[in-house]
């Protein structure tokens, strides 16, 4: 583990030297990263095609656009994000400066995943750079070409010491996890997530875990089922189902199950043609192991759509299975592949119970036209995120915090949330040594009177900013202004009348 130790030491020294701290440096690195994405788009697409058969359009669509947007946002807002954030004071601290100062943590370890090797590694890196940290980047070895390409490209654009890339497999990751980092950002499966957290426990390193789970997709019988199926089909079969927030399975009532199957079949024809194997837009499974795993999930069930496969290409056709029993293997683990089981439920209440009996998922999808029912379903369940009447889109809004809960993960990121996640929010109180007389009441020897004075001074908040008080304040102000204007008008009229009298008198004089 000599190499990993060396790289960490270099990154630490570079961080301690302070050069990652100034905003100009961070902006410069972010611009360089932006250039890398723009200039090397073709190379990245090729690498992804070799890794996972990603179509040349899916690459910018699914990865590059979001990375670009994150970089643009960080560049635009960095000064704002890094500025001190003032907070409310108490009487005791009325003449002091009270604020929260975001500060870098140090050296962050970013462990990427193989399904979106660029986005899931670089978006955390954007936040790490923006927050002023150094970062050791460990892309997944399963997306081999992307991993090697990143290892070659990053040092050409970014500071070599601050942001080293470590390639390798399980043993290299284990070596890294033995070392001490200031934060570990891990994207991957729950099993490995537990090991990461356990390793982090040794050094008391905080972690962000972006894991997965079975994201349920409920389709209500009284909604626009055709449009629902189009959107679900897109989300499910993009990247060949290998997306952590892909709709894992469908829950619907038996009366619309047939329709759902037909609409999905229709949509698949529209998207990928009669033989998806020939479509340039349909992907492949990442490797033999996952191919075998997914094929074995299907054992014993006859699909109603698809089901074909080709082991030599790691190709599995877009497949739909209906009437899947809840206790089947297909419903036990996250599918992470192009198999879409449909489980029937008797109504929305049944669907809610079904979801709540299982682990908290990374995403929940609800297709429904009834606002009240939607509200109810959101309120009675929990999940990392929710998209209603579509799939995966909550991922695309960078102002929404993206992350899991329970077994689907801990921590959030995207946009400012990555910056905050990889910063330390340091509470700062800047006092002066003047006004010592005010302080005297808190020192011993103590008596009742002094104690009361201190209690008063520590009371916070200074100004009651609750809604009720605000409403009273506004109403009182309006009334006050109203009265004042009325008074003015009365005075003016009185004065005006007077003036008119004088005017007439004068005129006739």
């Amino acid at each position: 583990d000599w190499m990993e130790r060396q790289l960490l030491q270099q990154a630490k020294e570079a961080f301690v030297s302070g050069r990652a701290r100034p905003l100009e440096f961070r902006l410069q690195q972010l611009h360089a990263l932006q250039r890398m994405i723009m200039e090397k788009e073709t190379e990245i697409s090729t690498a992804l095609k070799q890794d996972i058969s990603r179509s040349q359009y899916d690459t910018p669509l699914l990865e590059l656009i979001s990375i670009e947007n994150e970089i643009k946002l960080a560049i635009e807002k960095l000064a704002q994000w890094a500025a001190p954030r003032p907070v409310e004071k108490s009487l005791f601290t009325i003449s002091d400066e009270v604020y929260i100062q975001p500060e870098p943590l140090g050296v962050v370890l970013i462990i990427g995943a193989w399904n979106y090797p660029w986005a899931l590694t670089l978006i955390p890196l954007v936040g790490a750079i923006a927050a002023g940290n150094a970062a050791v980047v460990k892309p997944s070895e399963l997306s081999k070409c992307s991993s090697l390409l990143l290892h070659a490209l990053l040092p050409c654009y970014l500071d070599k010491d601050l942001y080293p890339v470590v390639t390798g497999g399980v043993s290299e990751t284990q070596q890294l996890l033995r070392l001490r980092f200031d934060h570990i950002f891990y994207t991957g499966g729950s099993t490995a997530g537990k090991l990461v957290m356990e390793a982090a426990a040794r050094h008391l390193t905080p972690v962000t875990l972006e894991l997965g789970g079975k994201s349920p997709c409920y389709i209500d019988k009284d909604c626009d089922v055709r449009t629902a199926c189009r959107r679900v089909t897109w989300g499910k079969f993009v990247n060949c189902g290998q997306t952590c927030i892909a709709p894992d399975y469908i829950l619907c009532e038996p009366c619309i199950q047939g329709q759902v199957v037909e609409f999905i079949r229709e949509t698949l024809l529209e998207f990928y043609g009669a033989d998806p194997k020939c479509s340039p837009d349909y992907g492949r499974i990442i490797n033999q192991e996952h191919f075998n795993r997914i094929m074995s999930l299907m054992e014993g069930y006859t699909p109603v759509v698809g089901g074909q496969s080709d082991s030599s290409q790691w190709y599995i056709a877009p497949t739909v299975l209906k009437d899947v029993p809840p206790h089947s293997r297909l419903m036990q683990e996250e599918i992470f592949g192009p198999l879409l089981p449909i489980v029937t439920v008797s109504d929305m209440e049944d669907a809610i119970n079904f979801i709540n009996e299982r682990e908290k998922p990374l995403a929940l999808y609800i297709f429904c036209s009834d606002q009240k029912a939607i509200k109810r379903m959101i309120e009675e369940t929990t999940s990392g995120g929710v998209t209603v009447n579509d799939v995966m889109m909550h991922y695309t809004v960078s102002s929404l915090p993206f992350g899991g809960v329970g077994q689907s993960g801990m921590g959030h990121y995207h946009g400012k949330h990555t910056f905050d996640q990889l910063s330390h929010q340091r509470a700062c109180l800047i006092r002066s040594l003047k006004m010592e007389r005010v302080n005297l009441a808190r020192y011993p020897p103590q008596d009742r009177r002094r104690a009361r004075r201190v209690r008063m001074a520590l009371r916070s908040p200074l100004i009651d900013t609750s809604k009720r008080t605000l409403i009273w304040a506004v109403v009182a102000t309006i009334l006050g202004i109203g009265l004042f204007i009325t008074l003015l008008v009365i005075l003016l009229i009185a004065a005006g009348l007077n003036c008119t009298c004088w005017y007439w008198r004068g005129f006739y004089n």
């Binding site: 910018p60 108490s90 800047i430 103590q446 609750s466």
Partner: protein, 469 residues
């Protein structure tokens, strides 16, 4: 006494029933907690006096008052906190509802320490209740009188279906940690924190760790030595130095030290009289074990005692003590002192002091005393710590607007005020789309084309709102 699993079953059923979700329930429970503290102030003060010989003033200020303040703050603000937070969108999602919901996590575990046995147990509980969770509360057995009192009072005031107190020592806590919780809030030492995180990792339970560390106190530049001495003594010997944010050691120049020591002597006499053991305003060490630990430090140190040094084992009393000529490798500079012993290290340059501080683990708090703002600025910008306070000690944690927590070895996460509410909540990203604009959606569907891609780039860009105008 219910077993752990029985308690957890009861709380899980309570949570699943949804009873903790409505605003009214949360406010009622918080109000009841407020009543618990107000009605039983006498008994609380008595129990704290029994445990730590805590003076009434300290008990009121640092246990009762701070809890009541936070409760008032939570009760007034919880309605605002639970509102969905609407967020800015891009062009593709302009017609959608995008907001963040704060949701409870489930059943949380709060483990309290012995130094501020009420505050450090109840303040996290305030956040947990406000966020709509159920909670298992585990007070420290070291502060036994308070442990007893809490176990007796909580079931009397709070709903027994949602909140339970579990008592016991290290063994019981280890057994408790084997169970699955939705969040673990631990205040205490680093050694135990490691096993807490390890136990949590088995269930992927998020944790908040409020640990300690050696909080440095730098005194440099022009300084009003009397005022500084007052505040330093107050912060250091409050609760007999047994505060996680107490200034642990002082770094200053020889000249400052020579002015500081007589000032400290004067202030100590002012505060505690000529015989501090007789003063009603000074606490005692919590247990014989900790007393022995501190006495060993005093025995092994190579520093010179210039103030205090007396002790009384039966009374668990150690006089407010100050030592000089302490070096960086002294035994007093090893672990967190957590007692009324103040070593002064002499370092002539501020830069060298900062380097010394940076050689050690990141502390929970960092203090600077100086009339020169450049000294304060330089220290703040070149160090890292949980919190930072210039020209005073401890008080930064009394402001509910400031997050209270550590960084690195001093902790993970934060709380107080709204921060406590956020710690015990899950921020769920929600996007509600409509059925219209399916044609716009068509841009993302296969079969793909260059044109579609171009449009897509434009509509999803964060700037596209401006381009439309």
């Amino acid at each position: 006494m219910d077993s752990h699993s029985q308690v957890l079953e009861r709380l899980r059923t309570g949570f699943r029933s949804g009873i903790t979700l409505p605003l009214e329930f949360r406010r009622t429970q918080l109000t009841k907690l407020l009543a618990l503290v107000k009605d039983n102030e006498e008994q609380i003060v008595k129990a704290l006096h029994q445990d730590l010989a805590k003076p009434k003033f300290e008990s009121i200020l640092s246990e009762v008052e701070i809890v009541t303040n936070d409760l008032h703050h939570a009760i007034s603000n919880v309605a605002t906190w639970i509102q969905p937070e609407y967020v800015p969108k891009n062009l593709a999602t302009k017609l959608d509802d995008c907001f963040v919901r704060r949701e409870p996590l489930g059943v949380v575990l709060i483990i309290g320490p012995w130094n501020y046995p009420l505050q450090l147990l109840i303040l996290p509980l305030v956040g947990a209740i406000a966020a709509g969770n159920c909670a298992v509360i585990k007070p420290s057995e070291v502060s036994s009188a308070t442990d007893c009192l809490v176990a007796e009072l909580i079931p009397k005031y709070l709903s027994q279906d949602c909140y339970a107190v579990v008592r016991g020592g290290a063994e019981e806590t280890k057994a408790l940690l084997q169970n699955r919780f939705d969040h673990i809030f631990y205040t205490g030492s680093q050694a135990v924190a490691r096993s807490v995180v390890q136990a949590a990792s088995v269930h992927l339970t998020p944790v908040t760790l409020e640990l300690g560390g050696k909080c440095p106190c730098l005194i440099y530049g022009r300084i009003n030595i009397q005022a500084a001495a007052h505040r330093l003594v107050w912060a250091k010997y409050f609760n007999a130095g047994q505060s996680c944010v107490a200034p642990d050691y002082v770094l200053c120049t020889k000249a400052t030290r020579d002015a500081l020591v007589p000032a400290l002597t004067n202030v100590l006499e002012e505060f505690y009289g000529k015989e501090p053991q007789k003063s009603p305003d000074l606490s005692r060490i919590v247990s014989a074990r900790h007393f022995t630990r501190l006495m060993k430090l005093l025995e092994k140190t190579k520093g010179k005692v210039v103030i205090g040094g007396q002790s009384d084992e039966d009374d668990k009393y150690i006089a407010p003590t100050v030592l000089v000529d302490v070096e960086e490798d002294d035994v007093l500079m090893g672990e967190e002192i957590f007692g009324p012993i103040l070593p002064i290290l002499t370092v002539e340059e501020l830069e060298k002091s900062i380097e010394l501080v940076n050689r050690k683990e990141k502390p929970l708090a960092l203090y600077v005393f100086s009339d020169e703002s450049s000294v304060v600025k330089m220290t703040m910008e070149n160090t890292s710590s949980g919190g930072f306070c210039s020209n005073d000690g401890i008080v930064h944690m009394t402001l509910p607007g400031l997050p209270f927590g550590g960084v690195g070895a001093s902790g993970w996460g934060s709380y107080h005020g709204r921060w406590g509410f956020e710690t015990f909540s899950h921020r769920r990203a929600c996007m509600l789309r409509g059925w219209a604009l399916e044609r716009l959606n068509g841009l993302r569907y296969p079969p793909y084309s260059d044109d579609k891609l171009k449009w897509l780039r434009w509509t999803t860009s964060a700037h596209s709102t401006c381009s439309l105008m």
